[in-house]
Subunit: 202 residues, 2 copies
DNA sequence: CAGCTGACAGATATTGAAAACTGTCAGCTG
DNA sequence: CAGCTGACAGTTTTCAATATCTGTCAGCTG
């Protein structure tokens, strides 16, 4: 049961791969490096993952699934839909901004990997859109939101791209960014509300 | 007055540079190429532009100013602000999409150049934000829009980034893109309106 | 003598040979 | 005999030599 004798599992390989990616970056992380980190020959790694691309894809999926899981907790809350939507979008932005600011190299690695695996990323986005749609559907059911949930979920996701697409990571450190995020979310929430608000007619 | 005898002006150099960029792409477009296209020595080009970077910057600015000018025409129209805003955003999207689809290589060249000249691009964006702000200010004056024009202009620009940021160009050819654009713009316009009322009254 | 040329030094890009990596598989090992 | 090893063929990456380019400037030319 000592670590070096432990059986070689897909899980252990994924952990070692993450470590190698963290250390060497995406360009220099080789299958040979991963095997060396595990104390096995690189042939053994190919027993669990058919190609290097498949291995990188699996690592990407793990990362994205972890992120998705945290947000799912917010989407499933019972608070009023408007607050929930705001919290969900804030959590998405905050998580990305935090990761990008904390360890830029690791975030760059992550960005390269997601760029390579559009299939997996598409699935992740579909997952997030599903969560958004749930919040909006609930809002429509409670009468606080108007508009078609699925279509509008996409619109909200697209409109907030600047605050979650890794491409914009370099701008997340700028001073005014939080105000810009708030302005966009405020505008979107105004558009989502079923009534014209407290102005005059109710 | 024959072309080869014509005096060498900054303007002629810029035209030749655009042509060389079109032909060779941004990576292989050298000052020597530009000089050869004009039938002069490369030393002469340096008489008008202190560095290669300055030359590329000038080309970029010309491109962006042309684009900006076309939109200014729409921003200055006298139609109702809601229609004008919609037209302006559509024109911005349409112009970019058209260029990206028409001649992808030239568009890629343009993208590389804008990536190099953040100074010039920032000025261009400030220009576009000014136009947007004007439309919104007019809308507020006429009582059809609420919210602070400058802050909201930024929010509208950010929220539509997916439809004008060159980074997303590869997605502009996808089938559903127009519907997604419409959904975002509809949502934003709902949020902008001063009252919750229907859009039938003029 | 205003404007252009072309040789030049230092910086950048290209090239091709050598090294490393990916993916396979026959055979070893516990 | 299930799982691992390491040599191997084909491909990609690295690295250093070579070529090209950038930016300058003394001197040529009309």
């Amino acid at each position: 049961m000592s670590p070096t004798t432990e059986t070689l599992t897909a899980e252990r390989i994924l952990e070692a791969t993450e470590e190698v990616l963290r250390r060497h970056g995406p360009a220099k992380a080789t299958v040979v490096d991963v095997a060396r980190a595990l104390g096995v020959s690189h042939g053994s790694v190919y027993r669990h993952f058919r190609t290097k691309a498949a291995l990188r894809e699996a690592v990407t999926q793990r990362w994205l699934d972890r992120a998705s899981g945290r947000l799912a907790g917010i989407a499933a809350r019972d608070s009023d839909p408007e607050t929930r939507l705001r919290d969900w979008l804030s959590a998405l932005f905050e998580a990305k901004r935090h990761k990008a600011g904390d360890d830029p190299e690791l975030f760059a690695t992550f960005s390269v990997l997601t760029g390579e695996n559009s299939q997996v990323v598409d699935q992740h986005i579909a997952d997030l859109l599903g969560q958004l749609t749930e919040i909006l559907r609930d809002g429509v059911a409670r009468g606080v939101f108007a508009l078609d949930p699925a279509v509008t979920a996409r619109a909200v996701f697209d409109a907030t791209g600047r605050f979650h697409d890794p491409f914009y990571a370099r701008e997340w450190g700028r001073p005014g960014i939080q105000a810009e995020f708030d302005a966009v979310v405020d505008l979107l929430l105004r558009g989502l509300r079923a009534t014209g608000g407290p102005s005059k007619t109710s």
